[in-house]
Amino acid sequence: MFEITIDQFSGPLDLMLFLIKEKKLDLFNLDISELTSQYQNYITSMQNMNLEIASEYLSELAGLIEYKSKKLLPRDKSLLDADYTEDPKESLVRRLLEYQQFKDITGDLEKRYQIRQQFIGKPLSRKEVEDVMPDMLVEGSSYDLIRAMKKVMIRVSLQQPFETKIAARELSVDQRIDMLRRMITRFPASFALEECFVDCSDIQLVLITFLAVLDMIRIGELLFTVEGEQIYLIRSTSDDGFNGNY
């Protein structure tokens, strides 16, 4: 029913905004009961697909259900007035609006980031620097190094429980080509052959990957160049002026 899996959302608010758009709900006059049912449906279907649902999604679901059930109860107006808190619906809409704003801005940031990646700097002119000043340029102590390593170790130990093991699977060359096609869309137009092997956990997968790359070269999806010991692959579908003369 849902073609979009949970890991494509960056959180429960992102999912809610998607459902509101998808089901054409009015954010400014939000039908929370409807949103709650849609949200619940989605989470259930993801669970049926055995996808792991982060606790944040479930706690937002609990909040929605709580609101929905309260609405069904007969209201005692005097009680409501006595114990005034912000209407949970109003607060949810405000959160969604605020979140939406930041989400909107990420497109702009992303564009700026991509363009900046294309600008290349020049390395420090070491020789020229040495000519005028042979002194040490960098300052540090072994204590700095140890402290830095400590930070790394803390981060690694915090990250460990979140990592899941991926069991080796028997893949066909065709399946691997599909995976590679998806992988290389994240690469620049030209990339080192070794990048295709980064996720290879065993020799079997390495061989299949290699066969897949050969096949992609054969059918013209990839071009390759050799520079010294390094092999570079070029996506032939690139539209960055690679083909032909500049």
Binding site: S10, F119, G121, R155, L158
Partner: protein
Amino acid sequence: MTDLTVIIEGLLFIVGEQGLSIEQLAQTLLCSEDEVNKAVDQLAVFYKGYNRGIQCVNYGGQVKLLTAPFIHPYAQQMLSIQKTRQLSQSALETLAIIAYKQPITRVEIEEIRGVGCDIMLRKLQALDLIREQGRSDAPGRPILYEVTREFMDVFQLMSLDELPKLEQIVSGSSQELFE
């Protein structure tokens, strides 16, 4: 170009991608930051005025020379230019929130995003895109985060004012909107 502009061009060329701050230039050249700013502007205009392979940029007060945009495909062809890293949607959201709300605590970011951000903040710190900047007065004195000069660089910003304005969300007077 004036002598000052020419000297700045030479110094920027030597230091390469690290660049130099306006303060460093003013200190080195024994002149005011105003004068440096003017000279840097002149240099940027000079580079823009011709069809050139180099440009002069000022990101968050750090001035540097970089290649012009259209050089990249040729550079890729010649050098083993590393693959460009994508920032994930979650990373961009977190950065956007910090850039607009800084200094901000982890809990405040999590309230806006609706998800835990502990690991994400550590990653962004490891990338030098954010840094810890003191502590809030709130209970538990949580750490405050802000964006770094590196952030200004990777998003090509001279100042945070260049980011699009947020529409103010008025929490109190929005009654009539919702009922």
